[in-house]
Amino acid sequence: MRVLIANLKLYSLRVWFWCACAALGMVTHAFLFWGRLIDEDGAALAILMLDALVLGFLIGTKQALLATRPFVFCLPGRRRAMHRVFLATGVIVCVMMSWLYIVFFEWHIALQGALTAMHLPALAVFFAVHLLGVIGGFTLLGWGLLVVFFLVLPFVGYESATGPYFTACAGLERMLVQHPAGVVAGAAVAAGVVWLGLIHVPIVPPAKEALEGDSSTRTTSSRLDRALFHRFSRCGHLRPWKHVWGMLYLTQLNANWRLMLVALLVVTALFCYMGMTRAMLLVFVPLMLIGNDGLPVHWQLFPAGGRRERYRAAMVLLLLVWIISVVLSAGMIGIANLLVPVAPSIEIGRLALVPKPVDVRYLWMPLLITPVAGLGWALLHERRTLLFILAMTLLSFLGVFTAPLWEAMPVAVPPLTNGYGLAGIVPAWILCAGALHRVVTRRDLVRKRSSNWEVRR
C-alpha cells in the first residue's frame, strides 16, 4: 500500500496535473452548461468519456515518464505497482465521471427512472475508455502531443456536437438503458483486453524523450536562413540590432514557416465551413507562434547580448508575430470569403457544413491576442511553459464559449471584435511591454529545463 500511496503522491505534488484537471473541468462545464449539447442525446456521455480518456492519458504519461527513469528499473515490483496506480486512479476517475453523468442525466426527462440501472454500465464504459487513455499516454504520446491534444480538444468537441461521435454516443446511451448487462459485459471484455495489453506493454521512453532527441531536425540551408545569417554577420559588433538579427536567425519561426504555411492553407480551405471555431483558430495563430519557441529572453548560450538587447529582441519578435498573425488571418479571411460563393454545402450524417462569409472584424482578434499572449508569457512562461499554455487555453475558452451569446446577437461576431476589443489593443501592448521589461531587467534569466514540465507546488 505504501508504494501505491507514494506513486499517487506524484500527482498531488504536481501543479500541472491540477491545472490540467482544472482546464478539463472548465471545458466540460462549458460544454455541458453553455453549449446546447445538454439537449442532445448522448452529449453528456460523449463529453465525460472524452474526459475519462484525457485523465487516463495524463495519468499514463506521468507513469511512463517515471517508468523510464533508470533508477526505477531496479525497483522491485515496479510493474505491479504501476498497475495498482492505474487501477486506483481509474476507479477514482470513473466513479467521479459516472456520478457526474448520472447527475446530468436527471435533466434528461426521457431517461429518468433508469438511473440506478445505468450506474454500473456507465462505470464500466468509463473504465474501458479511461484505460485506453492510460495506455495511450503510457506508450504512444508525449507532452508535446498532449498540448496539441488540449488545443485541438475544443475544436473536436464543438464541431462534433452534431456529428457522428455524438450520434454513436446517443446509441450507446440507449444501449445503457435497454441492455445494461450487455454493456457491462462488453465494457468488461474491452477493459480486460486493454488491461492485458497494458501488462505486456514494453516500458519504452515516451515521446517526450524521442522528441527531444529529434530536436536536430531543422536544416539551415533555406534562402531565408542564409539571408538572415548574412544580415546578422554583416551587422556591426556593438550595433543595437546585432542581437535582434542573431535571434531572428535562431528562432524556430524561421525553421517551421513552410510547415506552418501548408497547415494554414489546409485550414484556410475549411475556414468558411467553420462555425465559432474560426474565432478560436484566429486566437491560436499568435499563441502557436509565440508558444512554439517562446521569446528569446533565456538564451541557451551566453553570446554577447545584455538584458537590454534581450528585451529589444523579444519585443521585435512579438511585433513580428503580431504582423505575421494579422497577415495570415487576413489571408484566411480573404480566401474564405472568396470561396463562399463557390464552395458546396456538405452533409455528413447530422453534421451540415455550410459555407458562411467571415466578418472582417475577426481580424481584430490576433491584433489583441498577440500582446495578451506576450503578457501571459512574461508573467508565466519564464518559469512554467505548461502553465502559460494552459492559461492561454483557458483564456481562449472564455472567449469562445460565449459563442451562443454572439450568435444570438444581430451581428454574429466574437466579443473581442467589438469596439472594446479594439480599444484594448494599445493598453494590452503597454502592459505587455511593461511586464516583459520587468522580467528582462529585474528577474533572473536562467530557467531550469525541468521546470517546464515538473512544477513543484
Binding site: 532527441g213 530536436s215 536536430s216 531536425t217 531543422r218 539551415t220 545569417f229 546578422f232 554577420s233 559588433h237 556593438l238 546585432k242 542581437h243 542573431g246 536567425y249 535562431l250 525553421a255 541557451q300 548560450l301 551566453f302 553570446p303 554577447a304 547580448g305 545584455g306 538584458r307 537590454r308 538587447e309 531587467t441 529585474r442 528577474r443 533572473d444 534569466l445 536562467v446 529545463r449
Partner: protein, 295 residues
C-alpha cells in the same frame, strides 16, 4: 584578495530561492590576471555566484560589479570580454558544430580562427555532426571552445571538466595553462575535480552553504596547512603530542600523522624534537585542504 582594478567586486551578495538561502552575504574581489579555483560541495552556491558575476542572476541584497559595471547591466561591449562555460552544457542542438561555431563567432570581433582550428583538431570535434547528436564529452569540449576562442579577458568555467574523460581533462588543463600565459586574463574555475584544479589555480575560494569560508592564495593555503608524520626515535610515542593547532590526528604506538594549521616548519621541528620524534613535513593536497577547511 585586493587589487586597484578588480575584474569582479562582490559586496554583501545574498540570494534566496524560495526557502533556500543560496548565497549569504558574500564578499569577494577578483583581481586581474588571477586563476581562481571556486570550490565547494553541491549546493554550496558556486554556480549561483558565477551566474551573478555575468548578470544572469540579480542579487536580492548586495551588489556585484563585473569589469567595473553592475553585473545586471553589462552591455555587449563588456559581455564580449567574458567567456562562460556552464555546467548544463546547453547548446543549440539543431545546428552542426560548424554552424554553431560560425554563429557564435559572429558575436565576437576578437574571435581567433587559428585557435578554433587548432582546438577542433585537438578535441576531435566532428564539424559536420549536429550538436544534439554529440556525446556529453564532445558537447563539453565544444562549449569550452565557444568560451575561449574569442580570447576573453574574464573566463568563467562552471564545472567545465565534469563530462570529460581523463585524456580530455588533461588536454583541457593544457589549454588552461596556455591561456594563463596571457597576464591580463582572469579565470574563475569551479570544479569538483580538485586534483585537476590545483594544477592551475593560484587562488582558492572555498564556499559552504552560501558563504565563503576561505579566500586565500593557493600557496598561502599550502603554507597554512601541513601534514606531519611523526616517528618515535626510541620507544613508543608519548600519550600526548604537544603540538598546537592540530586538526586531525591518526596514530599508533610508534607513528602518528597530524594535520596542523598555522605552524611553520621550524615550530614543527622544535615540537618534534621535544618529544624525541622525527618529523616528516608535507604540504596538503588541495583535496585535503578543502576537506579541512569545510570541516
Amino acid at each position: 584578495m585586493s587589487s586597484e582594478h578588480p575584474m569582479v567586486d562582490i559586496r554583501g551578495l545574498s540570494k534566496r530561492f524560495g526557502k533556500v538561502q543560496a548565497l549569504n552575504g558574500v564578499n569577494l574581489t577578483i583581481a586581474r590576471g588571477r586563476i581562481i579555483g571556486l570550490l565547494g560541495a553541491n549546493g554550496a552556491g558556486k554556480s549561483t555566484l558565477l551566474r551573478h558575476i555575468i548578470g544572469l542572476y540579480l542579487p536580492d541584497r548586495g551588489q556585484c560589479t563585473t569589469l567595473g559595471v553592475e553585473a545586471g547591466k553589462l552591455s555587449p561591449a563588456e559581455l564580449a570580454r567574458i567567456g562562460y562555460v556552464h555546467q548544463e552544457g546547453e547548446l543549440i542542438d539543431w545546428m552542426t558544430a560548424a554552424q554553431l561555431l560560425r554563429y557564435v563567432s559572429v558575436y565576437y570581433p576578437t574571435w581567433n580562427k587559428e585557435l578554433e582550428d587548432r582546438l577542433v583538431s585537438e578535441y576531435e570535434i566532428s564539424l559536420k555532426a549536429r550538436v544534439g547528436s554529440l556525446s556529453p564529452g564532445q558537447r563539453q569540449r565544444l562549449a569550452i571552445m565557444l568560451a575561449v576562442c574569442f580570447e576573453p579577458e574574464l573566463l568563467i568555467l562552471d564545472e567545465p571538466a565534469a563530462a570529460l574523460d581523463p585524456l580530455a581533462r588533461a588536454q583541457f588543463l593544457d589549454l588552461l595553462l596556455q591561456l594563463i600565459q596571457d597576464q591580463n586574463r582572469t579565470i574563475v574555475i569551479s570544479s569538483h575535480i580538485l586534483s585537476d584544479v590545483e594544477k592551475v589555480i593560484d587562488h582558492a575560494v572555498i564556499m559552504k552553504a552560501g558563504k565563503i569560508v576561505a579566500d586565500a592564495g593557493f600557496d598561502e593555503l599550502r603554507e597554512k596547512y601541513s601534514r606531519v608524520r611523526l616517528t618515535a626515535l626510541s620507544g613508543p610515542l608519548p600519550e600526548t603530542l604537544d603540538f598546537a593547532n592540530v586538526l586531525e590526528c591518526k596514530r599508533n604506538e610508534s607513528e602518528a600523522t597530524l594535520t596542523v594549521a598555522d605552524l611553520s616548519p621550524d615550530q614543527i621541528e622544535a615540537a618534534a624534537t621535544k618529544i624525541n620524534c622525527q618529523a616528516d613535513i608535507q604540504p596538503l593536497p588541495l583535496e585535503d585542504i578543502y576537506r579541512v577547511v569545510v570541516a
